[in-house]
């Protein structure tokens, strides 16, 4: 590992840190993540499905860049960051840096990796030990790695305190006596103590006031220029990421759906999820004349993610079977909602009594599902067969829904969901999409609509919103 020469005060930045340029592709990868998986098993005797926090992601982090990692809460961003650092042991896959496979390191090489890669934590209130002075906190990594003499370590701590914009008299203060922004500076100084090359910044500003956020972000950018650092910047705040990141990876339910240069992704999102996510930034969905694309519902449970595309349950551009091409948008809304309800019911009924009742043929909630269908499609399955043309469904579609409801009334929600998906599902529900390269800079997006067979996601969304408006 080429350790950058002077730790501080030396303005000579290593090459290639001058922002979001197109030559990014030529930079060497510093960290390569390959098919990384992290599942959390429940302990206990009755283990259910594991929580698939990170489910097979692959990407490179290039030397000197800032890679933004965005996604909704609970999509696995933090777990991914922690697994890359080795704080969590990966279930499968590998993280390779400089020929070292991080998960299998031990002894001297592990110590080296722990020196080269550091983390800044989300909550500056929780990541600093209140019983230690600021000086002790920042010095601790140096003590742990026994770098230099005691006096040298102390001098280095003063350098770091100065570097992150704190005062020297803060050395003997306790974290209690600092504001959130100052505490985060302490956390950053601690992460810098060992002169790392790579830092995982786990939502480093999301706990701070907006005015303080900007200063900490500027500090991080200055440090990157000065020390030639590589950042993995985890955030759910899309505008912060746009500001700081060279490239951005969009994560959904343990999977990276789109990865590319920040400006390209923000100006022309390729993946339907990115489209929806960017559209959710208040007052910022300019660029297209499209209406706000709303994300319906919440992400499915990572314990039982959808087969096929993870985003299929909420996707505004999901491929639909040709047989139902003429169904109106309201009907699709209803079908998606029904699918969500069935999935939720299926995952809920783990209770012993529910299982007993089902095996006795006593479906407890037959009426509930009728109510749901009545709400969604305007006809009550429990009553006589409806008139043709009543509700938004065509007769074939209604037959399929009735099939599904029949199972659901018996409490077999899983089968019901399967029947529904059999009728209305498509390639999106069956196959996990590959990452397709979507532009000249090597941007990738994991959506089947990037193949020639289908319209592009943007076109599909536009068309559907246009139909809705009619």
């Amino acid at each position: 590992m080429s350790r950058s020469d002077a730790p501080a005060g030396d303005g000579a930045a290593p090459d290639g840190t001058d922002g979001t340029d197109a030559d990014g592709a030529q930079r060497d990868p510093l960290v390569e993540v390959r098919n990384l998986k992290k599942y959390y098993e429940d302990d206990g005797f009755l283990t259910g499905d594991p929580v698939k926090a990170v489910d097979g992601v692959s990407f490179d982090i290039r030397k000197g860049e800032t890679l933004g990692l965005v996604g909704e809460s609970g999509c696995g961003k933090t777990t991914l960051g922690r697994t890359i650092l080795g704080l969590e042991s990966a279930t499968d896959g590998e993280v390779v840096s400089d020929g070292r496979e991080v998960a299998r390191l031990s002894g001297k090489q592990l110590r080296e990796w722990q020196r080269d890669a550091q983390m800044v934590f989300q909550d500056p209130e929780a990541s600093l030990n209140d019983r230690m002075t600021v000086g002790e906190i920042i010095r601790e990594p140096l003590d742990a790695h026994e770098q230099g003499t005691k006096a040298e370590r102390k001098e280095r701590v003063f350098e770091l305190i100065d570097l992150v914009g704190l005062n020297e008299e803060h050395y003997y203060r306790y974290p209690h006596q600092f504001s959130g922004g100052q505490r985060q500076r302490i956390g950053i100084a601690r992460a810098l103590a060992l002169e790392p090359e790579f830092m995982v910044l786990d939502e480093p500003v999301s706990a701070l006031d907006v005015s303080v956020q900007a200063r900490v972000i500027n500090l991080l950018e200055d440090l990157q220029d000065e020390l030639g650092l590589t950042y993995l910047f985890i955030a759910h705040d899309l505008s912060v990421v746009r500001h700081i990141a060279d490239r951005v990876a969009v994560m959904y339910l343990g999977d990276i759906v789109e990865l590319g240069d920040t400006e390209a992704v923000y100006n022309d999102p390729a993946h339907p999820y990115t489209v929806s996510l960017l559209s959710a930034i208040p007052g910022s969905h300019t660029g297209t004349d499209r209406d706000r694309v709303t994300l319906r519902g919440t992400p499915p449970s990572p314990r039982d993610p959808p087969q096929g595309c993870r985003f299929a349950t909420r996707c505004p551009a999901r491929v639909r079977p040709a047989a139902f091409a003429d169904l109106p948008e309201t009907a699709w809304d209803g079908i998606d909602a029904l699918d969500t309800v069935l999935r939720e019911r299926a995952s809920l009924e783990d209770g012993l009594t529910d299982r007993l009742r089902r095996s006795l043929g006593l479906a407890a909630d037959a009426n509930d599902i009728d109510e749901v269908v009545a709400d969604l499609f305007g006809w009550h399955p429990g009553e006589q067969s409806p008139q043709e043309g009543e509700g938004p469904l065509t007769s074939e579609a209604r037959a399929a829904v009735e099939d599904a409801v029949r199972f659901a009334r018996r409490g077999e929600d899983e089968e019901a969901a399967a029947v529904l998906r059999e009728a209305f599902g498509s390639v999106c529900n069956r196959e996990r999409p590959e990452a397709h390269v979507v532009d000249g800079d090597g941007r990738t997006s994991a959506c089947v609509r990037h193949t020639d067979e289908y319209d592009s996601p943007a076109a599909a969304i536009d068309e559907r919103y246009a139909r809705r408006d009619d």
Partner: protein, 486 residues
Amino acid sequence: MSSLTGSESVLAEADADPLTDRLLAHPRPAVIWGGVAALLLLVEAGALAEVSLRLLADLVGALPGVGDAASVAALADAAGGVPTLLSRETIPNQGYWNGSAYVGTFLGLQPAWAWLIRVALVYAYAFACLLWVYVGFEWYRTHYRVADWTPRDDTVDRLRGHRWGLFGLAVVFMFVTMAVFAPALGPTTVDQNLANPYSHQISYWTGSEVATSPVGDANLGSRSQGNAQTNVGPWSYDDFGRFHPFGTLPSGKDLFTFIAAGSRISLVIGLLSVGLSAGVATVFALLSAYYKGRVDDGLILLSDSVMGMPQLLLLIMLSVVLAGTWIGNLYSGAFVLALIFAGTGWPYMWRSLRGPALQVSEQEWVDAARSFGQTPGTIMRKHMLPYITGYLLIYGSMTLGGAIIAIAGLSFLGLGVDPPTPEWGRAVNAGQEYVTTASWHISLIPGALITLVVTGFNAMGDGIRDAIDPESDSAEGEAGGRGGGA
């Protein structure tokens, strides 16, 4: 905002100096403090040397086949000859009336006054020591500490304003002083009055002349047995001119001397057992919180097994089995008792500490330390232990009260510390048939003292808890200590 130039990095060298430099720069408070320390030490130097040498002699004697106990004991005797301010030789209270004046008492005062002066001096000395420690802390804080504020400052300030806690602290302070200065506090000595009464003579005024008699015979004449004729109550003289602040036992022995000596053994067993079990409990709590999983499961299994053992039966069995062995004889059997208390008591404390330890182990700063490769041992010591020491103090002080009750309860049942070594519970037992008579003091005084001391330890625990964590509620059921015992 962020000044990244680094050129203006002027190290605050004065701040970075080690403590010795700061002392030299401003020596006055330190010199005064050190002078007081020397003075306090000087007046008790002989006693201090004697006590430490005698402990050494005991240890050498107890361990089979090691060293020469006799020579160490001789050394201790020599040290005992050095005059000290608070010894009974300097302020004697044992004398006799020769018809016109007191002979052998301090300044010719009545024995009661002489004794009272000595007791007052002992407590004044102990209080001076306490004050010296506190002033030392305050001066260090104002003159020498670099940090102008630490989290511990708030703890001390809160404890200072906590009345119930201060009451507990005062009671514990009185109790500890009594235990430490037990030989100087008694109106007579354990050896003379309790252990070997027939090897000592006393002089007394018969009403017409000064006569001598063995202490044992005098004891027979000063018994407290419930009726007005044979009773020596609190704060009174017996027929031999001896002063008894707490009255006498049914055997005629002095109750105050008995209690003072007994407080020592209670404190030693209490401290030893709580110290050992707290040590084991802390280490196990840190291990199970840091490693979780299998380690935690294993420790749960182990502690449940220990908790499943009947403590009292184990105690009886072990005291029979170990009776007569060298370890069983150590400190009249008190050492074995402390070991058994520690061995059976740690799971309770471990259970109480495990929760807080698990909570701390989930904190992000522990993750942060792991991320830069801090070793598990250091993480446990630096990042977890400071957060459970508060709980340790609370549970420790409350368990100590419980241990004192347990020892007294065992002695009451005739188990535990071997007679004739004084133990509070045995005094309660000895007096139980006289509770409703004129000799009520025999059971009541030690009983009330046990209650007071245990309450004091619990109050101190409460005070420490509130001082450490101002948001905690006093109504925490778990922290009940190990009351009851036998």
